[in-house]
C-alpha cells in the first residue's frame, strides 16, 4: 500500500507517518473517543446482522471495514454542517446523533426514512444511487444564498460514481463553487462489480477534470480520514468550493444480508484486508503512543455490549406501523385521493376487525 497519491497518517500497524499536506491534530482523548465510536458502530452492525438473521430486520447493509472512513469523516463535521448519506452511512448517523434505533427503522421495514433529518442535520437515506449527491449540491447552493458558515458532506460509493447524477453534481458544484464535499467510499465493490469496472484510473482523479481538487485517502486510517475531511469542509466553508475525497477502503462483509460474496470474490483478498482493520490500527496507536490501558478498551467493549442489548430491545419493541399511516405526509396539503384511500382502508380494517 505504498502509494504516493494516498494520504495516510497511520500505517496498518498503527505507526504514524507524516504527510506534507496533512498533520494529525487529534488529542489522545479525542482518538480514544473516536475509537469508542468505531467499536460501537461495529457492534451496531453485528447486532443488526444477527437481528436480520433472526428475522427481525428485512435487510441489513453492513459497514465492517468502513468504520475508520465514517467516524473520521463524521467527527470532522461542524454541528451546523449538513450530511447527505446513502443507505450505508451508519457511522455518520451515529456521529450526527441520530438515535441508533432510528437507523434501523428502514431495515426493519417500518419506515422509508427513519429520523428527523432537520433535527440531526442528516438527510434521510437515499437508495436510488446518486440522487442525494445532486440534492446535496442544491442544499449547498442554499447555504451560499444564506451566507452561512456551513458546508455539506455527501456520500456515495465507487459504484454510484458512474451515475449521471453524481457527475452532473460535479459540474454544478464546480460551476457554482458550492460549499460541498463529495465523500466517495471506494469499498471496491458495487455489490459484485469491482470498482475497476467503474473506472480504470483512481476515482479521485475525476474531480480535477471538473475543476476542483480530488484527494485519495486511506479509508482505513481514521486519522487521515478525519484530517482530510476537516480540511475540505473548512475550505468549503471559507468559500474555497468543492473537494472530492476518495476513501480507499474495503467492504469486509457482504453487500447486504441478501448478498453472497463468495460468488464473486476470494477469501484471500478479504484476509489481506483484515490486517488493515481500522479499529485495530487505532487500538495499536492508543497502546503505543498514549499507553491506553486494557481497562479502557474493556470499558468500551462493555459499553458496546450494553448498547447492543438496548438496541435489540428498542428494535424488538418497534411495532408494525398502523397501515393507515401510509396516507400521512404524502402531501403537505389535503388531497382527495389520499383521503379516499384512507377512508377505504379504514372501512376495510374495521370490517376485518369486526369479524
Amino acid at each position: 500500500m505504498i502509494d504516493e497519491e494516498l494520504v495516510q497518517l497511520l500505517t496498518p500497524e498503527g505507526e504514524r507517518v507524516t504527510h506534507p499536506d496533512y498533520a494529525s491534530t487529534l488529542t489522545g482523548e479525542q482518538i480514544l473517543s473516536m475509537y469508542r465510536d468505531m467499536v460501537i458502530v461495529r457492534r451496531l452492525c453485528n447486532e443488526s446482522t444477527s437481528l436480520q438473521r433472526q428475522g427481525q430486520l428485512a435487510l441489513w447493509a453492513p459497514i465492517q471495514g468502513q468504520e475508520g472512513a465514517q467516524i473520521g469523516a463524521g467527527r470532522a463535521l461542524a454541528p451546523m454542517d449538513f450530511t447527505f448519506p446513502t443507505y450505508r452511512e451508519h457511522g455518520i448517523a451515529w456521529c450526527r446523533g441520530v438515535p441508533p434505533e432510528d437507523v434501523l427503522r428502514l431495515f426493519r421495514a417500518v419506515s422509508t426514512g427513519g429520523w428527523d433529518p432537520q433535527k440531526y442535520r442528516h438527510h434521510v437515506p437515499t437508495i436510488v444511487l446518486g440522487n442525494q449527491v445532486l440534492n446535496a449540491v442544491g442544499y449547498a447552493m442554499g447555504i451560499q444564498r444564506d451566507g452561512a458558515d456551513e458546508a455539506v458532506l455527501t456520500f456515495f460509493g465507487d459504484g454510484a460514481s458512474s451515475q449521471g447524477d453524481v457527475l452532473e453534481a460535479f459540474v454544478w458544484a464546480s460551476s457554482f463553487n458550492t460549499p460541498v464535499v463529495f465523500f466517495c467510499q471506494n469499498n471496491q465493490f458495487g455489490i459484485s462489480t469491482p470498482s475497476s469496472t467503474q473506472s480504470r484510473v483512481p476515482l479521485f482523479r475525476r474531480a480535477r477534470g471538473f475543476g476542483f481538487p480530488g484527494v485519495r485517502v486511506d479509508g482505513n486510517d481514521l486519522l487521515a480520514c478525519y484530517e482530510v475531511t476537516r480540511a475540505a469542509l473548512e475550505n468549503a466553508r471559507a468559500g474555497g468550493g468543492p473537494t472530492m475525497i476518495e476513501a480507499y477502503t474495503y467492504r469486509m462483509g457482504a453487500h447486504t444480508t441478501s448478498d453472497d460474496p463468495t460468488r464473486y470474490r476470494v477469501d484471500a483478498e478479504v484476509e489481506v484486508w483484515k490486517h488493515r482493520d481500522p479499529i485495530e490500527r487505532i487500538k495499536a496507536l492508543l497502546v503505543r503512543e498514549y499507553q491506553t490501558r486494557p481497562a479502557s478498551f474493556e470499558a468500551v467493549a462493555e459499553e458496546a455490549e450494553a448498547f447492543a442489548l438496548k438496541l435489540r430491545d428498542d428494535v424488538l419493541a418497534m411495532g408494525r406501523p398502523d397501515p393507515l399511516s401510509m396516507f400521512d405526509h404524502v402531501y403537505a396539503e389535503p388531497h382527495p385521493l389520499v383521503e379516499e384511500g384512507r377512508r377505504e382502508m379504514a372501512a376495510l380494517l374495521a370490517q376485518e376487525g369486526a369479524h
Binding site: S111, G113, P117, N135, M141, G142, I143, Q144, R145, E168
Partner: protein, 328 residues
C-alpha cells in the same frame, strides 16, 4: 376590479415577479432563463431585477436542475424550475419520481417540497421533435406530485403564484401555443382554487372536458356544434392531478354525455382516468359511453402534419356525433 390585457407569457412573467417580490425564498432556475429571459421570454427581465442568485442560469442538465431544487427545498427555498421544453423533462424524471414525489413522505412530513417545475407543453407551434410533448399523465400517475395547467392569461397569472405558494411539488404545464394570445388579467382577485375545474361554456347536451391548449379548441367546437343545434358544456380541467371530479360529475349528471380531450396519447392517460372515474360515479346518468379524443398512438409527428395529430374541432365534433347518436 383592476384588469389589464396581456399575453399568457407576460402574465406568467408578472406572476413570477409577484411571487418573487412576496417571498425572498423564491428563486428561478433553468437553462437560458437569465440574460436571454428564457427561449419563450417567460422570465424576461427578472434576472436584471432580482439578480443572478435568484434567477439562476444553470449548466445544461435537467436532472441537476430538479435535483438541486430538492436540496434547496430542504434548505427552505422555493425553486421554480423551467424545463426548456416538455421533451427535456425526461432526464429529470428520476429525481422527480424518486425524490421530489417521495421526500415529504420519507421525512415523515419534516420536509416540504414546495417546488414548481414549469413545462411548456403540447404542440401547435410548428416546432421540431421533442418540443411538442404532453407528458402530464406520467406525473399524474405518480403519488406525491400535483399537476396543473392554465389556459388563459388570468389563470396563468394566478395559478403560477398559487403553485409557488403551495407546500407540495407541482408540475406546472403551460400550453406554449397560447403564450402569445391576449386576455384580461384581474390583478387583485384570484379566480378560484388551484385545482378547481371551471365551466368555460355552459351547455346541456355533452360535457367536453380538457385542459391547456385544448380549451380553445373545445370552445371552437362548441360554437360549431351550437350552429348544428347541439349544446356543449366546455370544462377547463385546470387541476390535472388531482382532478376536480365533483365539478365534472355535476356536469355529466346534467348532460348525460362525456368527451375528454387531450393532445397526449390515449393509453393510460388523463382522459382514460376521466372516463373511468366518471363512468363509476355517473353510471346511470351516462346515455353513451364517455369518449376520448386524444393524440394518436404514434410519436409526435413532424410539424407539417401536427394538426392532423392534435385533437381538432373536426375530431371533437366527430365524437360529439358519436355520443349524440349512440345506440350501442
Amino acid at each position: 376590479m383592476t384588469t389589464t390585457t396581456m399575453t399568457m407569457a407576460k402574465a406568467l412573467n408578472e406572476g413570477l415577479r409577484r411571487a418573487m417580490e412576496r417571498d425572498p425564498k423564491v428563486l428561478l432556475m433553468g437553462e437560458d432563463i437569465g440574460k436571454l429571459g428564457g427561449v419563450f421570454r417567460i422570465t424576461d427581465g427578472l434576472q436584471k431585477d432580482f439578480g443572478q442568485d435568484r434567477v439562476v442560469d444553470t449548466p445544461l442538465a435537467e436532472s441537476a436542475i430538479v435535483g438541486t431544487a430538492v436540496g434547496l427545498a430542504i434548505r427552505g427555498y422555493r425553486a421554480v424550475c423551467e424545463m426548456q421544453f416538455d421533451g427535456f423533462v425526461f432526464p429529470a424524471f428520476d429525481q422527480i419520481v424518486s425524490q421530489v414525489a417521495k421526500l415529504q413522505k420519507r421525512s415523515d412530513g419534516v420536509y416540504t417540497m414546495g417546488l414548481v417545475i414549469r413545462l411548456p407543453f403540447q404542440g401547435g407551434i410548428g416546432a421540431i421533435e421533442h418540443h411538442s410533448e404532453s407528458p402530464e399523465a406520467y406525473f399524474a400517475h405518480t403519488p406525491g406530485l400535483r399537476v396543473v395547467s392554465c389556459s388563459t392569461p388570468n389563470d396563468a397569472y394566478w395559478m403560477i403564484q398559487q403553485s409557488i405558494e403551495s407546500d407540495d411539488p407541482i408540475i406546472f404545464c403551460e400550453p406554449k401555443s397560447r403564450y402569445w394570445e391576449k386576455g384580461e388579467v384581474d390583478l387583485e382577485n384570484p379566480p378560484q382554487g388551484l385545482y378547481d375545474a371551471v365551466v368555460r361554456r355552459v351547455g346541456t347536451d355533452v360535457t367536453v372536458v380538457g385542459y391547456g391548449s385544448s380549451v380553445k379548441t373545445m370552445l371552437r367546437a362548441a360554437e360549431t356544434a351550437q350552429a348544428e343545434g347541439v349544446s356543449l358544456e366546455v370544462i377547463d380541467l385546470r387541476g390535472i392531478a388531482p382532478i376536480d371530479f365533483p365539478t365534472l360529475v355535476a356536469s355529466v349528471q346534467k348532460t348525460g354525455r362525456l368527451i375528454a380531450v387531450q393532445e397526449a396519447p390515449r393509453t393510460a392517460s388523463i382522459s382514460s382516468e376521466i372516463v373511468a372515474e366518471l363512468t363509476e360515479r355517473c353510471f346511470y346518468s351516462l346515455r353513451a359511453p364517455g369518449l376520448r379524443v386524444a393524440g394518436y398512438h404514434v410519436p409526435y409527428p413532424p410539424a407539417r402534419i401536427e394538426e392532423e395529430y392534435r385533437p381538432s374541432v373536426g375530431r371533437i365534433l366527430d365524437a360529439v356525433d358519436r355520443v349524440m347518436d349512440f345506440e350501442g
